[in-house]
Amino acid sequence: MSTDEREIQERAEPGDERPIELSAELQRELVAFARTLPVGSHYVALGLERGAAPERIREAFSERSRRFHPDRFFGRNLGGFEPLLHQVYKRVVVAYEVLRQPESRARYDRGLDAAQLRQVAPSGTRPRPAPERAGSLRSRARRLGNSVLSDLRARVGRSRSRRARAHAAEATREDASGSLAALIEAAELRPDDSELAALVAEQILATGRQLDRARRFAERAVALEGNCARYHGTVGRIHAAAGRREPARRALREALELDPEDAELAKALEKL
């Protein structure tokens, strides 16, 4: 039995006598759609391509509304599908809010681009998508599951060099409102992604502000994946930046235990 089928069965479990008034087709569609939402971009939520023409945005929203607007099912017994329907439709509305206005859409797009290309941005320049590159990224993202963010994850996984991260940090300072916000949003959409959480933590640390926020993301990364020296190291560096020496030492020691070779960790610990 697939995950979707299991979920459909759970949600259709008769809590009361009344039967579920939702066609089997819609049950399947709803569950399958809901599954794409936590990982997907606003474009995924509306079933659109990144470069969709502005007039397509409203059409797509209209289509989604016809399918999932809660009023279409008013007064019906939807059982466990009801909260799902509300959740799905809310996500669609939020995506539409962002994409329908040219300015907020451009800001969002910049964030997505920055999140994708930050890792390979040449030193001293703002990350800017070369048309070709953006195109190939998009097609790869589609292959990876319709999500630009899953592409981001793949890139992050491949290029973990400190140099790239330093460039990313620079880019973040330059475009703090756009790209960092998009990255944080990406991390919120993928709460189970340790690498993304760690990346966000490092980016925030690089700005030197909101260290508590950085710490929460770093701790999330550690909680999700306890055996990564880098994550512990990030927690330690955040504590150190906030002047909390004891927790900083503890975290850095833990990191060194996992990766005794790392000279930078040792240096950071020595400083304390």
Partner: protein, 525 residues
């Protein structure tokens, strides 16, 4: 299943409508009128009169006759709006135990919920008589700019009237639905709604499948009644000048002046000059009767209305800006509310949008019709334009230093949610109070308090270190839920925002039963 009616609960008039065989019709009351005055009177004998009957006896029983009660809905007695109205009406407005405004009629104190409930019940009765069957469900309309307290109070009134509210919808949205049903092309529509007591302007985009509100704004205290009162004031001054007698303390004279003013204002939408003739309005010192005879011109009353109508320009401009439209983008302008019949209003609207308003809808009936359409669509899951509305006012919480921190900006499409992280202001602070506010002022005190709750059990630590996550959620029914969570301890607390309970649910149920029993008596009569 019984039918769902649509009710427009207006400041000056109410209107009820229903869908029959795919057609929407406005239901006439027993007198044959399609609208019913929003007036409640209590006779000395304790008999309640609603609508035209109440209006007819208003002159002789002004102290015990309430009009424009909608202006008091969900407002505190202390508010400037209530204090202003107090000076202008003959009935007594007093303060309830919860600081709410109440009305005293023939020695009995009524909450505003009860007054509104009696009006709603009358509309229910009108519909039941027409349909020949009981009615239990309704879609009720409210001004787009009503805040959450005013909306919750309206819902409470409907419950007391024995009506289940399937949905509260905004008046301009209802008007647009009624206009847009069956139209194919995508249009950008502005609804300019000036009724007896409220003004709002709403910009929508509508197509076959979707009716989407882009922005809304207004003033819940600007409307035709203000023009009436300005005319009354003018007549009183003129009379004092000519006859040396002030009519200000004479309730019966005031009521006659008010009726005459309203009628003159309506006449002057058709003609240029009208005469007001009120014989025996007062007596002189010798006991001789005095008569009021006065000529009013359209130009004069346009003078009274000018400032008020001009004020709507700025509101229209800012709403268009919020929607991201230029005036020239608007394909159609709909006029709603009786006050839009005034030629001056139509001129200003034409000037604002650069096009003459649409003449195909009846401004008094279109709102109730839209409500009935929405009611039938909900009840039958029928195909038709789906409404996607916005939240008219920003929502947020009070933060340190008396500031208002917005989580959801006004004109955000609903359903929606927003989350932000806050912290403590004292070392080892163990609890925080979350005050949920609605409004546009930067100062928390100037906004409406929708509710408050405390989050306790915060992990002790230096100030500024705990992370308290506050989440706002507005569902498709417009219900606001607010929750707070300490991310360190996972302690969480949440509330569903509902009206500060002026009446307990027991009191509500008791009134509902009382009103229902009266209803049966009336039907047997």
């Amino acid at each position: 299943m019984s039918r769902v009616i649509g009710i427009d609960l207006g400041t000056t008039n109410c209107c009820v409508s229903v869908m029959e065989d795919g057609q929407v019709s406005v239901i006439p009351n027993t007198g044959g009128y399609k609208t019913t005055p929003s007036i409640l009177g209590l006779t000395e004998a304790g008999k309640r009169l609603v609508g035209h009957l109440a209006k007819r006896q208003a002159v002789t029983n002004a102290k015990n006759t309430v009009f424009a009660a909608k202006r008091l809905i969900g407002r505190n007695f202390d508010s400037p709006q209530v204090q202003q109205l107090r000076e202008l009406v003959a009935y007594k407005i007093l303060e309830g135990p919860g600081g709410d405004a109440r009305v005293e009629l023939a020695g009995r104190v009524f909450t505003i919920q009860e007054i509104a409930a009696l009006l709603l019940r009358e509309m229910k009765r009108v519909a039941e008589e027409y349909l020949g069957e009981p009615v239990e469900q309704a879609v009720v309309t409210v001004p787009a700019y009503f805040n959450d307290t005013q909306r919750q109070t309206t819902r409470a009134a409907a419950r007391i009237a024995g009506l289940e509210v399937l949905r509260l919808i905004n008046e301009p949205t209802a008007a647009a639905l009624s206009y847009g049903i069956g139209r194919g092309e995508t249009e950008k529509v502005a609804v300019y709604d000036m009724g007896g007591g409220t003004f709002d302007i709403t910009v929508l985009e509508l197509s076959q499948g979707l009716l989407e509100v882009r922005a809304t704004g207004g003033d819940t205290y600007l409307g035709g009644e203000d023009i009436d009162l300005a005319i009354v004031h003018h007549l009183m001054e003129a009379f004092e000048k000519s006859d040396g007698i002030s009519l200000a303390s004479d309730a019966m004279a005031l009521q006659r002046l008010k009726d005459a003013a309203e009628k003159a204002k309506c006449d002057l939408s058709q003609v240029e000059v009208t005469e007001i003739n009120l014989p025996f309005i007062a007596q002189d010192e010798a006991g001789q009767p005095l008569h009021l005879l006065h000529t009013l011109t359209r130009e004069q009353i346009e003078g009274f209305a000018e400032e008020l109508v001009e004020n709507t320009r700025e509101i229209c401009r800012s709403v268009l800006a919020d929607a991201g439209f230029e005036p020239g983008d608007i394909d159609q302008v709909l006029l709603v509310g009786g006050q839009t019949r005034m030629p001056l209003v139509q001129e200003v609207v034409t000037d604002i949008f650069g096009r003459a308003p649409y003449r195909g809808v009846n401004p008094d009936e279109v709102v109730a019709m839209g409500a009935a359409i929405q009611g039938s669509m909900l009840a039958e899951n029928a195909e038709g334009p789906l409404l996607v509305d916005v939240t008219p006012l920003s929502l947020g919480i009070a933060t340190f230093g008396g500031h208002f921190t917005r989580l959801i900006e006004r004109n955000t499409t609903v359903p929606t949610s927003a989350r932000e992280t806050f912290t403590t202001t004292r070392d080892d602070q163990e609890s925080v109070k979350i005050c949920v506010l609605q409004g546009e002022s930067e100062h928390s005190d100037d906004n409406d308090l929708l509710g408050e709750f405390a989050l306790t059990g915060i992990r002790p630590g230096p100030k500024g270190t705990p992370a308290i996550q506050v989440t706002f959620d507005i569902d498709a029914n417009g219900i606001v839920t607010v929750s707070a969570r300490d991310t360190a301890t996972d302690q969480a607390q949440s509330i569903q925002v509902s009206a500060r309970a002026v009446l307990s649910s027991e009191e509500e149920a008791k009134l509902a039963a009382e009103f229902a029993a009266e209803g049966e008596v009336a039907l047997r009569d």
